[in-house]
């Protein structure tokens, strides 16, 4: 005996001509495979990858803003490690190093908003801004986001005007001007992958990417991996060390979020095969790595 559901109760499930039936995932062009050219050792100011490996100091707190403030205070003349810097550090360190012992919060934001002027996407379309070195999600902004309430997917609600200013003029809320790279710039290679800059990608091109572990070829060709890593230089080495039998992960929640709402979250780097984690809650714990040029260990 079938129980018939009154149509009014399920009308919302019926096909809406304005919505999309299932189509093939909208995947951007794959990244070119890594070349055989020699590995370039990037730096950030006086800091090298070895600075991170040998004298980086983790700052853990169950409250993200507190952990970030502590790391920033420690590294006042240095840096809080971004995702590209952490990946390079793991790629160049052995598995006994502290970088392989724990997960870390990268000082890299993934912000989503509308490209009102159409600077990097069709006018009015959503974009993904991978902001290395922070700038929008400051401790104060995160704390206020807690008070105002996070999005249903646990990201901070941002001001669209902050997104506008960054996309149009390359200016952060602090007034600092940074370089904005398009995705094609990254594919060609940039000179300062460990620095503060933003990578802007059309949101529609990353929305349908799978969120899972990938085998090496898929991982290295994944455009979201490149946006997060900033450079291809260290990915091959990193993958080989981090992988398990299913490869290394690159996770996100793009398919769930309302991309018309300006929002941002921080990235995490897993201790091992879970890899690049972009679906962590902004309400969870934080563990940043501060690297200070004057750190005693750095002088050894």
């Amino acid at each position: 005996m079938i129980k018939i559901i009154p149509r009014d109760k399920i009308r919302h499930l019926e096909w809406n001509v304005n919505s999309q039936p299932i189509t093939a995932p909208n995947v951007p062009d794959p990244v070119a495979p890594i070349s055989n050219k020699s590995i370039v050792q990037h730096t950030i100011g006086d800091l090298t990858i070895e600075s991170l490996i040998n004298s980086g100091k983790p700052f853990y707190n169950s409250n993200i803003p507190t952990a970030l403030i502590e790391a920033q205070t420690y590294a006042s003349a240095g840096v809080v490690a971004t995702m590209p810097y952490l990946i390079a550090g793991k790629a160049n360190s052995d598995k006994k190093n502290y970088l392989w012992k724990d997960w870390f919060t990268a000082y890299t934001e993934e912000d989503v908003g509308i490209d009102i002027k159409g600077a990097y996407a069709p006018r009015g379309a959503s974009v993904l801004i991978t902001l290395h070195g922070g700038g929008i999600l400051t401790p104060d902004v995160i704390t206020k986001a807690y008070e105002d309430g996070l999005t249903p997917q646990n990201a901070a609600k941002l001001l669209q005007e902050d997104i506008d200013r960054l996309l149009i003029d390359g200016i952060l809320p602090s007034g600092e001007k940074i370089t904005i790279y398009g995705f094609d710039d990254l594919k060609k290679g940039i000179s300062d992958p460990f620095g503060r800059y933003a990578v802007v990608t059309e949101f529609d091109k990353v929305k349908s990417l799978e969120s899972r572990q990938f085998k090496k070829k898929e991982f290295l060709e994944n455009p979201l991996v490149l946006a997060r890593a900033g450079t291809m230089e260290y990915l091959d080495q990193y993958f080989n060390k981090a992988k398990d039998k299913d490869g290394v992960g690159c996770w996100h929640r793009f398919n769930e979020i309302d991309s018309t709402l300006a929002q941002g979250r921080l990235l995490y780097l897993s201790d091992s095969y879970l890899g690049l984690v972009g679906d962590g809650n902004l309400s969870s714990d934080g563990r940043f790595v501060g690297v200070a040029p004057e750190a005693p260990d750095a002088k050894k």
Binding site: I2, S211, G249
Partner: protein
């Protein structure tokens, strides 16, 4: 007044249960088993004999509640596991003694190499006759319908094959068959009430050397509860509790005073506890929860996901979510390691029956005496069945946490997809597709299914949500495949402009389901 003159079985049921509690008030100290808290999520705590202060929307379930409610269900029996001296037999003895008296119940007590009380577990139902001067054991049909209840003590201390026959209610001896049951008065065609059975056993541990783990065939026939040890909690309040000799008479005199119904237990009991009078169907929501939950709580979620993902990929689609091998996943596996064996077909029936039992106990506590099974009852039941399958000595409650995870995740998905109460999401998608197709044709029908596959194909939070989503999505993908395969037939059905279309669709499904087992496994519960 006799029972057949009384029309309102519900009132009789209420009086019968009230009489149980009233009669046994001075006999049994309540032994708290679990606490169920109602709300958006299920909250079940096993109390192990230690009650809590009552709070709003919370139901405390005691051993007597379980024993008493189980009399109304023929589909399963109760098995208590617990160390000697905690009172496993006491509550059941008192309950059976009150209702059935000394002549209407019997006890089987198994020993290490056989049955202590008689030569066979079947002995209470047999007689010895001389045939050509040779004594032969024959089934005694009178004895087969003599007892209303049977208590089996130390069920794990011997050969259980004969016991299993008794438990199943069908005994075979020397080519004869006997049915252990009571005729239910005034039923046409004649219906029968099964023997009420409660069993007990010591745990198979170092302290109980003759006790063995009950084999799977045995455990599958019972709903196993770990008997709580409430001795320390009840303490001196138990001292005055004792089984009095006239309990049976007291019970039925009280019942007669309440209802005016006269007669022996045989005249009244089977009619009042007729399971048909208490039949409660699970709705689409609860059925769907059983479908999606088992793959998470009773199996490796990764394997469940991968099987579903394989189905999805066969249809050319790709899930946008996955089960991650993270700490949450490892915790699931860790909890599942305590399982002695996974779910079997009989467990589905147990879950359904236990849900009704829990729903009934709640209705008793609330004073309605009309069971209604909701999602929490099913979640509780899945948890209890899972816990009953754990290895002796394992930590209690871990598997219930898994069920809670599944319950929360399923609820989130339903909320996200705006699924109407009491119906399953898959049901809703199928029926909305039919509505849409009736109005705009097959393309709209198929696009409705596609649209909802897309809606559910989003990122997940944790292994529970990924596993559940994979099942829901895979089932819709099977529906899509079925629909494309039988497009011409479905297009004709969609020309029907009323509810006939649903019936015709079900007929089509019934006619075609044998073409692929996956149709029956995945679509059967959608088209009910």
């Amino acid at each position: 007044m006799t029972i057949d003159q009384t029309k309102d079985i519900k009132e009789l049921r209420k009086s019968f249960i009230q009489t149980i509690y009233q009669t046994l008030d001075g006999v049994i100290s309540p032994t708290p088993y679990m606490e169920i808290k109602k709300g958006d999520t299920v909250d079940v705590k096993f109390l192990n004999g230690q009650g809590k202060l009552p709070t709003p929307n919370t139901t405390e379930v005691t051993i007597l509640d379980i024993d008493a409610a189980s009399l109304f269900f023929d589909d399963f029996h109760i098995l208590y596991e617990g160390v000697t001296g905690v009172g496993k037999t006491y509550t059941s003895d008192a309950l059976f003694g009150a209702i059935f008296g000394p002549e209407g119940q019997t006890t089987l007590r198994l020993g290490g190499s056989g049955v202590m009380m008689g030569t066979s577990a079947l002995e209470p139902f047999t007689k010895t006759v001389l045939e050509h001067g040779i004594p032969k054991t024959r089934i005694d049909l009178d004895k087969c319908s003599k007892y209303g209840a049977l208590f089996i003590d130390e069920i794990n201390r011997g050969d259980s094959q004969e016991v299993l026959q008794v438990v199943d209610g069908i005994i075979d001896i020397n080519g004869e068959r006997g049915y252990l049951r009571l005729p239910i008065p005034e039923t046409n065609p004649q219906r029968y009430k099964s023997l009420a059975i409660i069993a007990a056993m010591n745990p198979a541990d170092a302290e109980h050397k003759q006790a063995l783990e009950l084999d799977i065939a045995g455990e599958n026939r019972f709903l196993k509860f770990r008997f709580p040890n409430g001795v320390a909690e009840a303490a001196s309040s138990q001292l005055e509790k004792k089984v009095v000799e006239n309990l049976h008479e007291k019970f039925w005199v009280t019942f007669n005073q309440k209802t005016g119904v006269k007669g022996t237990w045989k005249d009244i009991y089977a009619k009042i506890t007729d399971p048909e009078a208490l039949r409660t169907e699970l709705n689409g929501e609860t059925r769907e929860f059983i479908d999606v939950c088992l793959g998470y709580v009773g199996h490796d979620p990764m394997e469940t996901y991968e099987h579903n993902a394989e189905l999805i990929k066969q249809e050319g689609l790709q899930p946008h979510f996955s089960v991650r091998k993270d700490n949450d996943y490892n915790k699931v596996l860790e909890s599942q390691h305590t399982l002695k064996h996974g779910f079997v077909r009989r467990d589905l029936r147990k879950i359904s029956d236990l849900s009704r039992l829990v729903g009934f106990i709640k209705s008793i506590k609330e004073g309605t005496y009309e069971p209604k099974v909701d999602l929490n009852d099913v979640a509780v039941s899945i948890g209890i069945v899972l816990e009953s399958k754990t290895i002796t000595g394992s930590e209690y409650g871990k598997l219930m946490s898994l069920v809670n995870d599944a319950r929360i995740s399923y609820n989130e998905i339903r909320t996200q997809l705006n699924t109407p109460a009491e119906f399953g999401f898959r049901q809703g998608v199928w029926q909305s597709a039919v509505y849409s197709g009736q109005e705009k044709g097959f393309e709209a029908y198929l696009n409705t299914i596609n649209q909802n596959i897309t809606a559910i194909n989003s990122q997940n939070r944790g292994p529970a949500q990924a596993t559940i989503k994979s099942r829901l999505m895979a089932d819709l993908v099977v529906l899509r495949h079925f629909s494309k395969t039988y497009e011409s037939e479905i297009s004709k059905i969609l020309n029907e402009k009323d509810e006939t279309a649903f019936a015709l669709f079900t007929e089509l499904y019934d006619a075609k389901k044998s073409n692929a087992s996956i149709y029956e496994h995945r679509l059967g519960s959608i088209m009910r």
